[in-house]
Symmetry: C2
Subunit: 317 residues, 2 copies
DNA sequence: GTGAAAGCGCTAACAC
DNA sequence: GTGTTAGCGCTTTCAC
């Protein structure tokens, strides 16, 4: 039935009819057992209710299906044990690969479990053992800074996540580099996304300190900041410009209107799958593959020249 | 190793050590092949980038993991063939169950494929053959109407999706019932979520028609409507009150502030999994299980008394 | 080119 | 109780 062999057309037709009639479906478990390879790919994600992950994970599945793979997934919720349990089950299923969407909370043990057994590709985050597909985070930070400085801002801040992984670090470095090159000194603040009170205080301090523009490490943080600004009656963008990173769908809503650095989600997913397939082909011993995809600045309503500039212009006119 | 049998403690320790050393993991495929049952559950979802689905699907996986199941998923994107392909692979994997998160686009063929083979539970939508777990849509529509009428609105509209499935229908019925009982006549408009231009026109017509309050069949639509209102410079809630349905995380943002009927996502997922397990236990021939979970009105900034009322109050004072 | 047979890794049933 | 064996549903190899 599977390609080879030749039968009389009527036999083939009969068989096909029987298949349809009985609804026969080959048992994937049996096939994969004997073939010693599976079409399952495991996706490990922090939490699907974070829009950027949901968008990425959706693209993964779409791409996986396109290549004949079947997607499994688990939400780690930032919990190491949940992650290891998920990875364990991918091991048990003899998955063809695992896709990490965010920096694994239990990365040491995760490595012990997976390395050399299942091809792993890290998307949107870094790794010193698996393959990695990332966007050009450094450039992202740079264009954010260039945009803000171009608008006339002189007092700039970077608001970063408590987990300072390679992606966040590169975004910050790109940003800091441009700011320093312009002869300015960026303020760097780390804020805990789980503590609303602290966030408000930190936002307020930055503003009291004369900061007029903030680059955050992701849209999630940027939107939190927007909320904090609203609560503090700080006008965005008149009193404060904000640039995010990711470009989640939400950021494009009129009411949010976040200027941000767009990650090409579809392309990230395509590249991730192609990388995975390449890795399967090359085997575990060939050197790690590292891919970078470009980013793009999307200008919306959350950025504008700082107020003192607009006032000056007003006085001049 | 699996519970029964007794060995000397040292043998057990040796074996365990060997397992750890070699990283042995039982092959799930082999086990499930011989046991004739699997721990895979398939989730079929429209598109994960719709927040309500992402939130639900995340809860499914969390619940599934809690019960020892492993989640696979596929995005149908509203495409019948994509859905059938996904269902096919769940069949091939001999999945323990399939969870439908939205009304299946290819429901006739879907039924033919799945019914009698894999337990199916429909969450947030209806079905005349599988088990269903839904929230109390009718009551949801009612409390939305009661809230708006209680605020003093007299000209009310329901904005429904083009797919008028059982959930949408019940929400509308509940809404209409209360409105009519109050001696009023609701306007019903069906809008196509894929055509922004039409939506703006329809929103404008409703407002021109004197509508002061709209209940939409989901938050997605409500937020679209909010956007349309902003574009048309219609003030929400002063000129127009809006009530959604779902309570996605986004709706709780200060800038969105959508009054909405909350679906208890976690509870829906818990109930769905319990129902699935019950179905597996009972076998395919026992009658369908239907479960309902309660909803709750969440009042935010998108609803207020209609302007003529506020003006009257102003004149009176 | 076609059919029979071996075996993938595991579990369950059955003698010992 | 413990060891052995059959067999889950496929694919692949190897005679014919």
């Amino acid at each position: 039935m599977h390609g080879s062999g030749r039968f009389t057309p009527e036999t083939a037709a009969q068989v096909r009819a029987a298949i349809d009639r009985l609804g026969f479906r080959p048992n994937v478990l049996a096939r994969q057992l004997v073939q010693q390879r599976s079409t399952t790919v495991g996706v490990v994600v922090g939490a699907l209710d974070n829009p950027i992950y949901a968008e990425l994970v959706m693209q993964f599945e779409l791409e996986a299906a396109k290549h004949g793979f079947h997607a499994m997934f688990c939400n780690t919720q930032g919990d190491e044990n949940a992650e290891l349990a998920g990875l364990g089950s991918y091991l048990d299923y003899r998955s063809a690969g695992v896709l990490f969407v965010s920096h694994p909370p239990g990365w040491i043990k995760a490595r012990q479990m997976i390395e050399g057994r299942i091809p792993a590709v890290f998307v949107t985050c870094d790794s010193d053992w698996g393959d990695v597909v990332r966007c050009d985070d450094e450039t992202g930070g740079r264009i954010a800074a260039e945009h803000l400085i171009g608008l006339g801002h002189r007092r700039l801040a970077y608001f970063g996540d408590t987990v300072d992984d390679a992606s966040n670090r590169d975004r910050r470095h790109g940003f800091e580099h441009v700011v320093r090159t312009a002869g300015l000194t960026p303020t760097v603040v780390t804020w805990n996304r789980y503590r609303a009170f602290d966030r408000d205080r930190q936002a307020q301090e930055a503003i009291a300190d004369g900061i007029t523009a903030i680059f955050t490490t992701d849209d999630y943080g940027a939107i939190e900041l927007l909320e904090a600004a609203d609560r503090l009656h700080v006008d965005v963008p008149a009193d404060l410009s904000i640039v995010g990173f990711d470009d989640v769908i939400m950021s494009g809503l009129g009411r949010i209107g976040l200027t941000t650095v767009r990650q090409p989600k579809r392309l990230l997913a395509e590249t991730a799958l192609v990388t995975l397939i390449e890795r399967i082909k090359r085997g575990p011993d060939s050197p790690p593959i590292r891919q970078t995809v470009p980013v793009e600045l999307v200008i919306r309503a959350s950025t504008a020249p700082p107020k003192h500039l607009t006032q000056t212009q007003f006085r001049l006119s």
